[in-house]
């Protein structure tokens, strides 16, 4: 059957709230308004004030409260209306959530999920378009997930909620309305995807494309287009940014000898940079027949006007171009 990303996320939260008394959702507009982007539609109606809770617009406060609740034994799902606003609360995510289990030598676990849309939406300007994948992924103690499809969203969000560690779960607003085919297995309440494993979305022998979130779709489009020209791309959907599935990437590169990374974030110290480092640092680095190319967001604050915005984030033609460059074809 078909399911939108939004409904997949909704189902994951719904099922986990039902499954475990200790799970609850809090955030701005998540309850009565059904979520700013309607991800939590119907949940307040079903579960009431105790399990689905509206907060004031005070990210540091409610994220801190969520972390405290996790320390004391609950399993909060803390929604940031967008991850841009998580910057106000980032100290609570990093210093309180990620580090406490270690500082306490294992005495105080912090089972919490921080979730919400990450990266650019459409026409929302520079302050509302940032990708936080690389920042959060630097921090040990956190797990960082960035799903692409409905299956990813359902299986990974459920895994995140059940995980005893703090998890940052990066959604994408533009994807919310996108439908994907869901297997019966994926529709089941027991479906969870293991954290830390990438998914090969498409097999290919000529070049490896590694991406996460929405841009996996662009990679698949590019792969389609290139297949018509006889180029077979292997498309890897990272799914998990931390831990990162180095093995899957390296194995693919050993086969294809060519690598392009694709992400919506800024280039410097991005996810692409890390992938480059993992490859160039491994003993497999000499499997590469050409420089790795990073297709990334342009290195600037996001402009509003459509034409400028469109050119601020990877488009399929950027990926096609990079692949051709890497393979030295035209």
């Amino acid at each position: 059957s078909q399911l939108t990303v939004r409904d997949a996320l909704n189902a994951a939260i719904d099922e986990e709230i039902k499954r475990d008394d200790k799970v609850f959702l809090l955030g701005e507009e998540v309850a009565l308004y059904d979520g700013a982007y309607k991800v939590s539609r119907g949940l307040h109606k079903t579960y009431g004030d105790k399990r689905v809770i509206d907060t004031p617009i005070t990210e540091m406060g409610f994220a801190g409260i969520a972390v405290g609740a996790a320390m004391a034994g609950l399993k909060p799902i803390c929604e940031f209306m967008t991850f841009n606003f998580s910057m106000q609360a980032i100290d609570q995510v990093i210093n309180s959530a990620a580090k406490t289990f270690y500082m306490s030598a294992g005495q105080v676990p912090v089972p919490i999920v921080f979730r919400g849309p990450n990266g650019a939406a459409a026409g929302v300007g520079a302050q509302h378009s940032q990708c936080f994948a690389s920042w959060y992924s630097t921090c040990p103690g956190l797990k960082v997930l960035s799903p692409f499809s409905s299956e990813d969203c359902k299986g990974l969000l459920k895994a995140a909620i059940r995980d005893p560690n703090p998890v940052v779960f990066l959604e994408n607003e533009i994807m919310y309305g996108t439908s994907f085919e869901m297997s019966d297995e994926a529709m089941s309440e027991d479906f969870v995807i293991p954290i830390g494993k990438a998914k090969i979305e498409r097999q290919g022998n000529h070049i490896t494309l590694v991406s996460h979130s929405r841009y996996v779709g662009h990679c698949l489009e590019a792969a389609n287009e290139l297949a018509g020209q006889g180029v077979e791309c292997e498309v890897i959907n990272l799914r998990s940014i931390r831990p990162m599935d180095e093995e899957t990437i390296v194995k693919s590169v050993m086969k294809t000898n060519h690598l392009v990374t694709v992400e919506g974030g800024w280039p410097q110290c991005g996810i692409g940079s890390e992938i480059c480092a993992r490859v160039i640092e491994s003993k497999f680095f000499n499997y590469l027949d050409a420089p790795v190319l990073r297709v990334t967001g342009a290195d600037l604050p996001t402009p509003y006007a459509k034409q400028l915005e469109d050119n601020s984030f990877p488009q399929t033609h950027n990926i096609v171009g990079a692949v051709k460059k890497s393979l030295n074809i035209s």
Binding site: G123, H128, Y304
Partner: protein, 360 residues
């Protein structure tokens, strides 16, 4: 018709103030015409913006100011162009009143090169001389505004800063950090809470334990003014400017209302009734009620106002046409304005990993 008239305005509620703004306000004919025109222009501009959004010419967010016009018009007319203003993302009205033309606002909304931020800022990020935006992060503009006031005090230039935020923003911690510092340093800052009853879909009582926003500065004096009465707002601002230059910060709660949804994707009717909106429109509308007063006092005639309405309609329609016809910013523009005075050889990385583009 007379050349000026005196009006009664409602007494402000006061917090830690011995005395508040006057309750009688005198207004000249010219001023009355000006305020009326300004409010109508903003109303018309916002209606146009709403329509442009519906016809998909405006993208992303678009937070309309309709219903709140008396706040910016009243305040602007008690400060000088040398005074400063900073607000949140509900910025169109303020951008206009601070000197951007209707065309400059609409062109920005449609994302044109002629927009007041050359199409780079969008709905939430408009700037003008002594107007510091247009800020998209709830609450962040409050310390910024205190910082602008800090500069005014540092330069000892006799100017003040009006720092606006919403009822939803009023719970943000940084607001309280800014209050404390502003009071310690006696910054010439008027903090203004534009209480329009809702922060997105959340009514004030659900977001704030205390909804007496004018008292939320605790040790900071405050007052609540009827934000639907342009003359009351103007008088309160006159009082406040004088106060903050002498004593340091003052908090004004401007009781107002937002007619539209939060942004364009919000129909604005799931968390309040249509009747509520209708009731405000009928009994408290800042423009209708001002019009009424002007007629009652014979300061302005119905015909004069009709004439203004026509002028405004024309100006906005023409600005809209112009803005639609304008060209979008060329792609090269995109790489400029990242840094002030970049090195001559500074190049920006694009989405294409092998293309670097020069930046000015």
């Amino acid at each position: 018709a007379s050349t000026e008239a005196t009006f009664e305005v409602a007494q402000c509620k006061l917090h830690k103030l011995e005395q508040g703004p006057a309750t009688t306000v005198t207004c000249t004919r010219e001023d009355a015409l000006k305020y009326y025109r300004q409010m109508q222009t903003i109303r018309r501009m916002e209606t146009t913006a709403g329509n442009l959004y519906k016809s998909k010419q405006i993208r992303g967010f678009c937070h309309l100011y309709s219903g709140q016009e008396a706040c910016c018009v009243g305040m602007e007319n008690s400060i000088t162009p040398e005074d400063s203003v900073i607000t949140a993302y509900r910025a169109h009205g303020w951008a206009y009143i601070r000197g951007i033309s209707v065309h400059g606002v609409l062109a920005e909304l449609i994302g044109k090169k002629t927009g007041c931020a050359q199409g780079k800022g969008g709905s939430m990020h408009m700037y003008a001389k002594n107007f510091y935006g247009g800020n998209g992060i709830v609450g962040a503009q409050v310390p910024l505004g205190a910082g602008i006031a800090f500069t005014q005090k540092y330069l000892n230039n006799g100017n003040i800063c009006i720092t606006l935020y919403g009822d939803g923003a009023a719970n943000q911690g940084q607001v309280y950090e800014a209050f404390n510092i502003a009071m310690l340093w006696k910054l010439p800052c008027i903090f203004v809470c534009e209480n329009n009853g809702y922060g997105m879909g959340t009514s004030v009582e659900r977001a704030s334990y205390s909804t007496d926003y004018y008292t939320r500065g605790d040790y900071m004096p405050g007052l609540r003014v009827d934000g639907m009465d342009v003359l009351a707002v103007k008088e309160a601002t006159r009082f406040a400017k004088d106060y903050v230059l002498k004593n340091g910060p003052l908090l004004i709660e401007c009781a107002t209302y937002r007619y539209s949804g939060h942004s364009m994707s919000d129909p604005g009717t799931s968390y309040r009734t249509r009747e509520e909106i209708q009731e405000v429109r009928q009994t408290r509308d800042p423009i209708t009620s001002f019009k009424q007063k002007l007629l009652e006092t014979n300061l302005v005639t119905e015909d004069e106002m009709k004439k203004i309405d026509q002028d405004v309609r024309k100006e906005v329609t023409e600005s809209e046409k112009l803005a639609i016809a304008d060209t979008g910013p060329p792609l090269e523009d995109m790489y400029d304005h990242i840094y002030v005075q970049p090195e001559a050889d500074f190049k920006v990385r694009t989405c294409d990993p092998v293309t670097m583009v020069a930046s000015r």
